[in-house]
């Protein structure tokens, strides 16, 4: 996992429904694929994504091997007021990456 990319609108008003886009580099190894040695490559995926805003959960995704490499997610939020996003991606085995992003509420 590397540093994720997050796209938020430049500014948003309270009550506005905004789109949030996230992307993270990850091979999302399915566990079904054979390597050059003929053995199955062990599964290693990001199995969970969570988005919180001002401490409250907005959106969560449980991901399976059917999700493509470098998982991209787009979802929405109705802006409740000023605040900061906290996004986290969790890999098989429990390793987690967390990224924060402040929303410019005008």
């Amino acid at each position: 996992m590397t540093k994720p990319r997050i796209k938020l609108p430049e500014s948003a008003k309270v009550g506005e429904v905004i789109e949030i886009k996230t992307l993270i580099s990850h091979v999302m190894e399915t566990g079904q694929r054979r390597g050059t040695d003929g053995n199955l490559v062990p599964r290693s995926i990001i199995n969970n994504f969570t988005a919180k805003y001002a401490g409250a959960e907005v959106f969560k995704a449980e991901l399976h091997p059917g999700i493509s490499a470098n998982p991209y997610l787009s979802f929405f939020m109705k802006v409740p007021g000023p605040g900061e996003f906290e996004f986290s991606w969790t890999e098989d085995g429990g390793k987690q990456i967390t990224e924060k992003a402040k929303l410019n509420v005008v």
């Binding site: 907005v58 059917g66 939020m77």
Partner: protein, 154 residues
């Protein structure tokens, strides 16, 4: 099977009835001797409920040249209020080695019930979306996708 469980046949008929609404031959489900993995995945989500059609859009390309990365969008017409919102949207690829693709959990804070991502398809198949509403009802949508080069590294 335990007494309170529906028989496989009852279930298959239920699924067949559900998929008939989506213009898929009912015989496809009835002809199978084994309950398929995707049917189990559907059953695990909806239980005994009968999903209905409508107000739920599952957008996918008709033809996917590369099954490794197929863009999709699921969206439900919903006010997304505390009383009436979409709790979850499940995506199932019927002919993948592991049919469950993703479960998206939404909240009234979501404002709009729409999610986009990219999935893998091992071969040409139907993709199913199931939306779980706050009042306990389920919506279902189904889309066939032709796959030129399969994903899942087979």
């Amino acid at each position: 099977m335990p007494g309170d469980q529906p028989s496989r046949r009852t279930f298959t008929l239920g699924v067949a009835a559900a998929v008939t609404a989506f213009a898929v031959p009912a015989t496809a489900a009835l002809a199978q001797d084994q309950v398929q993995a995707w049917e189990l995945a559907v059953r695990k989500i909806v239980g005994e409920a009968k999903p209905s059609e409508g107000k739920f859009a599952l957008e996918l390309p008709e033809i996917a040249e590369n099954g490794n990365t197929v863009p999709f969008t699921v969206s439900v017409e919903s006010p997304m209020t505390e009383k009436d919102h979409v709790k979850a949207i499940h995506v199932i690829a019927t002919a993948n080695p592991q049919p469950g693709v993703a479960t998206f959990r939404l909240t009234p804070l979501s404002g709009k019930a729409a999610v986009s991502s990219r999935l893998r398809l091992a071969r040409t198949q139907d993709v199913i979306g199931i939306a779980e509403l706050s009042d306990g009802r389920f919506l279902m949508a189904k889309r066939p996708v032709k796959v030129t080069i399969g994903g899942c590294g087979g």
